[in-house]
């Protein structure tokens, strides 16, 4: 099948994570991965982002498929059930708003800028070298928080890629769940 430009978006995903290692301000670009799927779902009423443009999904396909890093086993039954998918979406939302809250605290001066990225909502990884000296603290704090979200989801995605099928992450990806809910709501009553 002929390759299209969007079949190479995995490069953007890999580049995003790499650039964030050197300068955390690149993490702001990750907002595109938040807003584009939402806009497509709200305006277009479809999941074209997941179906075509998700660079992370492509990266998992490439690593798990062509590079053979996946065991290609079935995911556990509970992982594809609604309670888990919606529960994970809620959990992700809570963590996202907690990140926004910390950004607000730094913005208001109630808290100092932290120089760490939090992996899996638990482990603090030192990341101070990637924070430019002359930067508004809340801008850097948001970048650190957002990069934490992106890194955590990538690590989880890689983990399930290795254990199960290459794109096992897509089954419970919070953005996928959210955009599907939007599509359902938008297309309700249509046949």
């Amino acid at each position: 099948m002929k390759k299209r430009w969007y079949d190479y978006l995995w490069i953007a995903s890999a580049l995003y994570l790499t650039l964030g290692f050197f300068n955390i301000l690149f993490a702001w670009l990750g907002l595109l991965c938040f807003f584009i799927p939402l806009i497509i779902a709200v305006v277009g009423g479809n999941k074209a982002y997941c179906n075509r443009y998700c660079g992370r999904g492509q990266l998992f396909s490439l690593l798990g498929g062509r590079f053979g890093l996946s065991r290609k086993r079935d995911i556990p039954r509970w992982m594809k059930q609604k309670w888990f998918r919606y529960g994970f979406l809620v959990f992700f939302f809570v963590m996202f708003f907690q990140m926004l809250w910390v950004t607000w605290l730094v913005f208001s001066g109630a808290r100092e800028l932290g120089g760490a990225v939090t992996l899996l909502w638990t482990f603090k990884l030192p990341w101070h070298w990637a924070v430019p000296a002359a930067v508004t603290p809340w801008v850097a704090q948001f970048a650190l928080g957002f990069y934490s979200v992106m890194l955590t989801s990538t690590v989880l995605g890689l983990l399930v890629m290795v254990l199960f099928k290459p794109r096992a992450w897509c089954v419970f990806c919070p953005m996928g769940t959210m955009t599907r809910l939007i599509c359902k709501a938008r297309n309700s009553g249509k046949e």
């Binding site: 074209a48 199960f164 990806c173």
Partner: protein
């Protein structure tokens, strides 16, 4: 002589578990699957030859080949 109808397997997507990720769409060599309105994948039975690539490609493993009467 009795004529036995041959059943041909076709892909069947369980809509209650489908997350509309589109992996099956990419896997299908005949373009027999489409994601319908971002909700779930649908198989065009007229095009499906039951090759099973979508079954392997589905990350949720919710596609199976079922025998359908021709």
């Amino acid at each position: 002589m009795e004529v036995v109808r041959r059943a041909r397997p076709k892909a069947y997507v369980d809509p209650s578990y489908c997350v509309a990720c589109g992996c099956c769409v990419k896997a299908c060599p005949l373009g027999a699957i489409q994601v319908f309105r971002g909700i779930a994948a649908r198989v065009d039975e007229a095009k499906c030859v039951g090759c099973g690539r979508c079954v392997k490609g589905c990350p949720a493993s919710i596609i199976e080949l079922r025998e359908a009467e021709q």
